[in-house]
């Protein structure tokens, strides 16, 4: 450890600030999880360990319904967004010369990161209402379409980041070695891009699972997702069942993130 190597960790108070930060980040979540195992029906008193709220939550038909709907929407939205984002990322990085308006397109693709979600929500509400009147279609398609659009930038960013670290010379080498553009993509670009695609899918999936505002505006009657259902419940009675559902939701997200992390690490 040379003295010349400056390290922020050596600054006074570094440890304290780090601990406070972690407390802020994790204490509320830890509390939530701990109280999900509370025997009592109240949120404020601890009366001993119990799994009764998990049993209640898992037996709740409504919870089952909204969870499945959330997963279906997230699955579709993340898949579609990943495909679109991959194509967009290829178009914006895999050209020998920048085309006019390339930066503009980059900004346009990332629209959902810049336009306030509530504005998108209102816009979609009005837009989809018009389509609903015109077509009479009431299905999940609206939510899937809205989530897909919203997830594109989250899928796009890791894919683009991966492509940018990938040397264009590799694809040039493939072309030099008689690969057609399609073969070069299939045998060189795609295999190297897999970690980025997995990361993009994962981010899109988790983003879709989590989206409340847009869902709230777009959903038809009976199309609650897990987060909008929870929000609705919290407005009425608050029981530790909510803690249990939240904990399960957290677990689901963690599993998704971990699985994709491991997959992308293995491939890289």
């Amino acid at each position: 450890m040379g003295k010349r190597n400056f390290s922020v960790a050596s600054l006074p108070g570094f440890g304290t600030i780090a601990i406070i930060t972690f407390i802020f980040l994790y204490l509320p979540i830890v509390t939530l999880v701990v109280y999900s195992f509370n025997e009592a029906a109240s949120m404020s008193r601890w009366e001993g360990f119990s799994l009764r709220w998990y049993e209640a939550a898992l037996a709740n038909r409504q919870v089952q319904d909204v969870s499945i709907r959330s997963l279906v929407i997230a699955g579709w939205a993340a898949t579609l967004a990943t495909i679109l984002a991959t194509m967009a990322a290829l178009a914006t990085t895999r050209n020998e010369r920048r085309f006019p308006g390339q930066t503009m397109i980059y900004a346009l693709i990332n629209q959902p990161l810049m336009v306030p979600e509530i504005v998108t929500g209102v816009a979609l509400l009005i837009f989809f209402a018009m389509i609903k009147i015109a077509t009479g279609y009431q299905g999940l398609g609206y939510l899937i379409a809205a989530h897909t659009a919203f997830c594109i930038p989250f899928a796009y960013l890791p894919i683009r980041a991966r492509l940018e670290t990938m040397d264009l010379t590799l694809e040039r080498a493939a072309a030099d070695l008689y690969a057609t553009p399609l073969q070069a993509f299939r045998h060189v670009t795609l295999p190297l891009l897999v970690p980025g695609i997995l990361a993009g899918f994962m981010l899109g999936f988790v983003t879709s699972l989590d989206t409340v505002v847009i869902t709230e505006f777009v959903k038809s009657a009976g199309q609650d997702t897990l987060p909008t259902y929870m929000l609705g419940q919290l407005r009425r009675v608050v029981t530790p069942e909510m803690n249990a559902i939240s904990t399960l939701f957290l677990l689901l997200s963690l599993i998704a993130v971990t699985v994709f992390f491991l997959l992308s690490r293995k491939k890289a």
Binding site: E96, D167, T169, L170, R172, A173, A174, A175, D176, L177, Y178, A179, T180, P181, Q183, A184, H187, V188, P191, L192
Partner: protein, 365 residues
């Protein structure tokens, strides 16, 4: 020189490349014409930025010419994409596919061409043997050394038996010893395969030792094309003379030109016969630039050049003696060291320099 019976393989005809447009247009290549016969080890030599890579990239098909033509075996290849050209490249960065094994890398081109599995396996085995990489067939590129990666890149480009192999400074990332080994190796491979090599380097020694012929380039133009001997002994202009090997420049006045040589007078009054590059015919009274190589001149008691020793640098096999001429110019001599520790001149010694006949040439300035 290639005999007239060899077929020309690559013809580059008035090829120009301009990057950008308007005020910041860069003319990377300026009306370059070259003819490279089959089976030749041809080298593009020149300083950084002179357009070597641009020329290679246009032959490979990664870059479109602004004007001019490239013909391969007589037919224009302007409209062929890289994957349709019988030309392979060894990239400066190797560009090995990191997710494939050494064997898969080498077999890639044949796989893309849809060759039968047995043929691919046989060729890969043959190539692995050629570059002595058999024990590492199943390693990934990240698990082999830089020199080994270089050999794999070479094998990968040779596997489909291209008509022409383009090599863009393939040795520049290697250390000196490995570099010397690979120089020999490359020369051997070129001889064994009979493939035309177009080799890019900015190392003049590498170019001189490896090439059948060299094109010396500068600022997008070809200055001279010739065998290493021609380039070294008969440089066409000041740039070539300066770029290839160490050179002493002198100014002199022409007394009389007669064909291939000219009688010139040095400022000291001494007269010498100097060789002339083809196409140059100075007349009496012209000021000309003379070049002479450090190893051709020697210290003498009497000679056309006089000066004072500034420095003597010992290099093992030889000693470089820096002499400040009475005209103010610096002149470098290279004296081979012998076992008998002959007395070397010391700093401040007045000396004379003798230049044998045929060791002085006039160059275009």
């Amino acid at each position: 020189m290639p005999s007239s019976t060899t077929r020309s393989d690559i013809e580059i005809d008035q090829l120009s490349k301009v990057f950008g447009s308007g005020d910041d247009a860069v003319r990377a290549l300026d009306a370059v014409s070259l003819t490279i016969p089959e089976n030749e080890f041809f080298t593009l030599l020149g300083p950084s930025g002179c357009g070597k890579t641009t020329l290679l990239r246009m032959i490979a098909g990664f870059e479109q010419p602004s004007s001019g033509a490239i013909r391969l075996g007589g037919s224009d290849i302007a409209d062929l994409p890289p994957n349709k050209r019988p030309v392979n490249t060894v990239f400066q960065s190797y560009a090995l596919f990191p997710h494939m094994t050494v064997a898969q890398n080498i077999g890639f081109a044949l796989k893309m061409l849809g060759r039968p599995k047995a043929e691919i396996e046989a060729t890969v085995a043959e190539m692995l043997k050629l570059v002595k990489m058999e024990p590492m067939a199943n390693r990934k590129p990240s698990q082999i050394s830089g020199g080994q990666q270089q050999r794999v890149a070479l094998a990968r480009a040779l596997a489909p038996r291209p008509r022409v192999l383009l090599l863009d400074e393939p040795l520049s990332a290697l250390d000196l010893k490995l570099r010397k080994e690979m120089q020999v190796e490359l020369k051997r491979l070129q001889g064994e395969t009979g493939i035309t090599f177009v080799f890019v380097t900015h190392d003049q020694e590498e170019a001189l030792t490896m090439s059948d012929r060299i094109a010396v380039m500068s600022a997008g133009k070809v200055r001279q094309v010739g065998t290493p001997r021609e380039i070294y002994n008969h440089p066409a202009d000041r740039f070539v003379a300066d770029f290839i090997g160490d050179t002493n420049f002198l100014t002199a006045t022409v007394e009389k030109a007669n064909g291939a040589t000219a009688r010139v007078r040095l400022p000291s009054g001494h007269q010498l016969d100097a060789g002339l590059p083809t196409g140059l015919s100075p007349v009496s009274g012209d000021e000309v630039t003379l070049v002479t190589r450090p190893e051709h001149a020697r210290l003498a008691t009497e000679g056309p050049l006089k000066g004072t020793v500034e420095n003597a640098v010992y290099f093992g096999t030889d000693t470089h003696i820096h002499v400040r001429l009475d005209t103010g110019d610096l002149f470098i001599l290279r004296n081979q060291n012998t076992t008998s520790a002959a007395a070397l001149p010391e700093k401040g010694d007045p000396v004379a320099i003798a230049i044998p006949d045929g060791a002085v040439r006039i160059v275009r300035s």
